[in-house]
């Protein structure tokens, strides 16, 4: 639920990076953290296991600056991708204004991508959210890997992108596609606030 303060002209939105384990959700946030100037970001909080797998969530607040006269802030979250953290994913997804689904382009991860995408829709439905109305973009990460071990983007789109939402190839570790993905979801989320749509 986006928060709009008309008195102080501030907007705050919650964006959740969702996807299977090791698809690169945390890597996206790390890259963004590394790019954004210090005065435009908060501390990046990672609740992780000793092996740096996300245990609860990663959290990064960023200040997008003034948009249409409103100071606009985004709160970026990741969910833990591993299957057994189902409860945690539901908790983090609460109140999301938009979702970035980070898919792993490796061919051997196709089933995990599908399972996670179905899990996302099930969790949204459980929270009473019509998934078709939720701003969503898909990022196909790790496209820098050798072509013989990844699934082509067109095939991934065919399997996952039945809503025909914006999709972006990415190499989150080194940056390509991270900015474009964030811009894509930002546009979708903020467009809701330019049309005054309500749930």
């Amino acid at each position: 639920m986006s928060l709009v303060n008309y008195a102080t002209r501030e907007i705050t939105c919650k964006i959740v990076y969702y996807g299977p384990g090791r698809s690169g959700k945390t890597t996206n946030l790390h890259y963004i953290y590394g790019q954004v100037p210090g005065d435009r970001k908060g501390q990046m909080v990672s609740l992780a296991t000793q092996t740096d797998r996300t245990l609860f969530f990663d959290f990064l607040p960023i200040d997008l600056g003034t948009i249409s006269g409103f100071t606009t802030r985004f709160q970026l979250y990741t969910v833990p991708g591993q299957v057994y953290y189902q409860t945690t994913r539901k908790l983090v997804l609460q109140g999301a204004d938009g979702v970035v689904f980070v898919a792993d382009s490796q061919a051997r991860q196709l089933d995990e991508n599908i399972e996670s995408f179905q899990d996302l829709h099930a969790n949204l439905a459980e929270q009473g959210v019509d998934a078709r109305q939720m701003p969503l973009v898909i990022q196909y990460n790790k496209t820098d890997l050798p072509p013989e071990i990844i699934t082509p983007m067109a095939e991934l789109d065919e399997v996952l992108n039945f809503r025909n939402v914006p999709s972006f190839p990415a190499d989150a570790l080194h940056g390509p596609g991270v900015f474009e993905t964030l811009r894509g979801i930002s546009e979708q989320v903020l467009r809701r606030l330019s049309t005054g749509e309500r749930r």
Binding site: M1, S2, P61, L64, L91, F179, S194, R199
Partner: protein, 157 residues
Amino acid sequence: MIRHSVMVGWADGPLKRYVDDARLQFTVLMHRSGQVLAQHGFQSRMDVQTACALSAAINATADSLGTMIDGAPFRGLHYAGAARQMHLAQLHVGDGVLLLLSVFDRESSLGIVQLYLDELHAALAASAPADEDAPPALAEDFERDLNTNLAALFGKR
């Protein structure tokens, strides 16, 4: 469709009184999802957002853990540190549940906080606006500002 919550400072007055009466160092009122509604005492807006994200996580975890081991969510979490104490409460306001994080030192006590929390709860319930439609917040051509600002953030100009 996605709801956006309109904040016009309705919580500021009650929260300010609560801080003074309960002698708090800082406090923040938030949605259960971790979105900030109002705060007093934090110097950095980014710190507020982080505090809210972590508070929402604690609350959600306590809800689930309490339900699992005691059949009901844990409520009114309190932690006493060496120099500061924190209290996390759920407040039913209007149709929703809000969270309130209160932080205090030796100038106050858990008893005082709980005492004034009841007054705050009543004041918030009385002043909370009805959920109603609001005009669009952003101009239709917001993309220009968004693209310019994101490019600047990522050093692309």
